[in-house]
């Protein structure tokens, strides 16, 4: 087999060396036997990984994993034959080998003792459950967002990782991106005065029309694709647009908004708690003509017990998304599409000494942090508790919009106050054989 590192571009090699000299100097002194939860030693001291779910998101990220010579991607898994083959081909092309193995059943993959960690990018209906299965199988985890489909699933995920000592990095990669780190630093250092409001904007959701029920295509394991969701007949309308149906997702407010609620939590240093009040309104698709369910447009606010308000707006175009921290003495904003930071007073921008041309689309530094955590068994920057709490905010916002009334939330007991209906919606019955 060709040496994987030999196929790295100069940029990726530099990237790796920089990581090695910055955060991840640890491998130089740690024995290889500290790799992996079971102390299993990966051949040639690399972290052996597999990817669960090789759709569009995974294919965009998988190269960032493989750019690290410390990682060897050994296998891919998907319930769709075409995607499985494309994933295998991408891994083999990177390593210039034919060694990537494929699995249709992720349980079979997780049972392999030669794998240390997994990258999960399956769609949110699977993220939490696959993560818990992976943690129980002794694997460390990098999982795409949103991290779970329900509040209870999020709590189970955080508890499981804590219980088993799993290193889990959520795909909230903006925590590791220079522009956002600078923004967080400005907010945390009090340079905006007291932070009062965090304004977040995600795009308007589409209205998906019904399409005919059709036979399940050959090579498509639809039962596994559905995962925990109640069974429904096959239609490309929901298969291709799953993030706009309650059974599979909570819509744009969690799918994209979780990045911003995560940054809000990070900036406010509230990773172990959350807001206490939620209120808002939304416009939903016309039920006469539309199949999808999640909001088209909306605005929802949450308030922390210290009075700080988070305002999530679902409006405008995809390109218009942003997060802004607003304080007594100024504001700072990152435009997600362009990675451009703006601020008032403008002099705040002069504080930014380090400029990186890597925006949110480059997950390299976030993966580097994951590697560091695997080596030290410490917490990565987007650890499970932080990921669950950030995602919770979006989930509660959506429940607030679905129920059409304000909600009060106890972030300690993780329950709604005085709203039995809302409390019942904290968990969903997972379709067998899956479970938390």
């Amino acid at each position: 087999m060709a040496n994987p590192s030999s196929s790295s571009s100069p940029r990726t090699r530099r990237h790796f060396l920089r990581r090695l000299t910055q955060a991840a100097a640890f491998p130089l002194v740690l024995p290889a036997s500290t790799l992996g939860l079971g102390g299993a030693v990966a051949p040639n001291n690399r972290i052996a990984m597999a990817t669960l779910g090789v759709g569009g998101r995974a294919m965009a990220i998988i190269g960032h994993f493989m750019a690290f010579p410390e990682i060897q991607m050994r296998a891919v898994c998907d319930c769709r034959a075409d995607r499985l083959e494309a994933g295998r081909a991408a891994v083999n092309a990177h390593y210039q080998s034919q060694d990537c193995q494929t699995h249709r059943d992720f349980r079979e993959l997780l049972s392999r003792p030669d794998l240390d960690a997994v990258f999960i990018a399956t769609g949110v209906r699977w993220h939490g459950i696959a993560s818990i299965f992976a943690a129980n199988a002794g694997k460390d985890i990098y999982c795409e967002k949103p991290v779970t489909l329900s509040l209870a699933e999020g709590r189970a995920l955080a508890d499981t990782c804590k219980r088993l000592g799993t290193v889990y990095q959520a795909g909230h990669q903006r925590r590791s991106v220079d522009s956002y780190r600078f923004t967080i630093e400005v907010a945390r250092r009090g340079l905006l005065g007291r932070v009062r409001t965090i304004q977040m904007q995600v795009w308007e959701g589409p209205a998906i029309k019904p399409e005919p029920v059709v036979p399940v295509p050959q090579g498509f394991d639809y039962d596994v694709w559905l995962g925990q969701a109640p069974w429904r007949p096959f239609s490309w309308a929901h298969v291709n647009n799953f993030m706009y149906f309650w059974d599979f997702s909570d819509g744009v407010i969690t799918e994209m908004g979780c990045h911003y609620t995560d940054l809000m939590q990070f900036g406010l240093k509230t990773d172990h708690t959350g807001p206490v009040e939620f209120e808002g309104k939304a416009e939903f698709p016309d039920p006469k003509t539309t199949y999808s369910e999640t909001p088209l447009r909306g605005e929802v606010r949450c308030r922390y017990s210290n009075g700080v308000v988070g305002l999530m707006q679902q409006k405008g175009r995809f390109e218009d998304r942003f997060i802004r921290f607003i304080g007594d003495d100024g504001w700072i904003q990152v435009d997600d599409q362009t990675d451009q930071v703006t601020a008032e007073p403008k002099s705040l921008l002069g504080l930014r000494r380090q400029f990186s041309n890597k925006g949110w689309a480059d997950t390299g530094d976030h993966i580097g942090d994951f590697i560091r955590a695997i080596r030290t068994r410490g917490q990565p920057v987007a650890h499970p508790e932080s990921a669950h709490r950030a995602n919770s905010i979006g989930q509660i916002m959506v429940l607030c919009l679905r129920l059409g009334r304000p909600l009060r939330w106890d972030p300690v007991g993780e329950k709604f106050l005085g709203d039995e209906d809302a409390n019942r919606l904290r968990s969903r019955a997972i379709r067998p054989p899956w479970h938390l």
């Binding site: 000299t21 130089l28 024995p31 030290t376």
Partner: protein, 688 residues
Amino acid sequence: MKASLSIFRLLVLAGFVAMPGQAAPPPQAAEVETVVRQASGYTIEGSREALAQIEAFIRQSRPGDALRHQIELQLVTALGGTATADARGFICRSLWMIGTDRSIPVLERMLLRPETTHLACYALLNYPSKTADTALRRALDHCEGSARIAVINTLGDRRDARAVPQFGELARGQDLAVAEAAAVALGRIGGFAAADTLERLRRTAPEALKLVMAQALIQCAQRFAHEGEPAKATALYQRLFQEQEPIRIRQAALIGLIGSAVGGAGTDLALRMVNEPNPALRAVAIAQIPSLKDPNATRRFAGILAGAGPERQVLIIEALSQREDPAARPALEALMRETNSAVSLAAIRAVGRFAEAASATALLQVASSAPSADQLNAALAALRQLSGNSVNQAVVKTLKATQGPLLIQLIDLLADRRAVETVPVLLETAASPEVEVAKAAFRALASVCGPTHVEALVALLTTLKHPGLSPEAELAVTKAAQQIQRTELRTSAILAAYKTAGSLSVRLALLRVLGGMGGSEALETVQAATQAEDPALREAAARLLATWPEATAVKPLLKLAAGTQDPTLRLLMVRGVLRMLGKAENLPSGERLAAYRTAMELGQGAQEKRLALSGLAEAPFPGALELVHPLIGDPEVNAEACLAALRIARAQLNTHKDPVKTALDKVVQSATDEKVREQARELARQLQ
């Protein structure tokens, strides 16, 4: 809380309309019945209108009220009737939120049919009464395979302790999938009975189930700890930490033992485990340091750091830094100069994370004698994070005793730290004979100076010893002066210096600074300089006018452009005018028209034409089409002219019909792109 919520609601609701369904009167029973009957025929290819109405009814209702009762009654009727499979799915999702004992009989029947078991479980998951548990337990004996697993999972999620005996039986059965589900559910239920059952079963369980049961036991122990029974948790963890257990279980048990220990016992155990031969257990124990509640934990781990050896030192340093207890700082500072670079770097970064001013001197010493660039950069990065003015004073003290590259890095550090109080030192340093040092000082001054420093900066600019410093010095003056709010005050110090400046280089420098400021006085001065005797000053002034930030320079520029003999300079000025005009929306349209006309006469190249067309299209004004019209059909700019004409025509369709019509006709004749021609025709049709 109540008062603050009211204020919050007022704030949020300002400008909001009510949610659909909230303001409507409650529906009558007959209406609910009709809508549910309509919903019973739902398929995913059809309208969701009836479903949405039911959801609106549910939002209007509350647990226990008449409307909620009516909705549930109708949903139950539909479930027992001929509802489609898709409709049943919807109904069960509704009962998930609102179902009561009234709907349990129909759901229990659904539990027994494999194709509907999961839907029934979906509904029953969070039913408040124990009647649901009873129904689920009854169903356990009558279903099998996947359906049985669904029921097991639901009882497990509901933490039904009365299901433990049945689960015990199922966990020892032949169906491995069911047995595994039962073991997992026992872990979720927790409590003594579940843990006891799991421990007994595990002794004789097949290998495939032993690990699942051990993990379920770990979950039971975690729940004991969470629910205030640390003794039970510890006892269970200890049994699972035995050497014969799989390493993953031992690791989890160790995490639990350290986490649930009382007082300093967790620290004792973690400290013991630092010397554990198994590196996996050792690393996990060290990783628990951040979460130890023992107030002495930091001190005790800091105490063993020096003798722990590099591998453990790196791990402990990382863990102590995550603990965020400043008591660790002295021990970490002591390791910053370790010969092992991994240890040294870890310690420097950890000290930086504490951000304490007291670390400044130690970090500056590291920076002054760092054996590698990595350590130097880490020390400087750490210094950037420290808070407090005393840090800046410490940096200044070191700076005064430093030479060479480190001196420049320390100056950069002051800039990064926005150390305003060090401006006097930076002003001194800017007068350094070493050009690179002086440049760094000016860069720092540009970052930290404000309005009060303008005069001092101007004084420095006018007495520069090296001409290479001028760009940095000019930038520092500009940045500081731009912070002055009132335009007339912004340039006063610079203008005063300009009037008395002796040398040409100083006058040029000050003129360049004025060029970035704007304002009427600055404009007058630069304008006057365009008539200066010195040709260099004249040209510099003309070039500055061409890039003037405000449209007030249009008139003098056009006059200059008309008078100059230098064709290059003329073009530069014409382009400057055209750029300004493109943004000069406040200029009266008559003046704009005249200025465009003059500029387009003075500059007739393709680039000038394109600039003019771009500006005219961006901000159309009366008369704009007159300027564009001659360019339609011009081979150099035909495409741009047609597009500009279309854009202006759209904006003036209803106000300037005749010139618009004429321009559109010409576009139809001249445009090479059929789409453009079609757009022109369409606009022309709209005119009619």
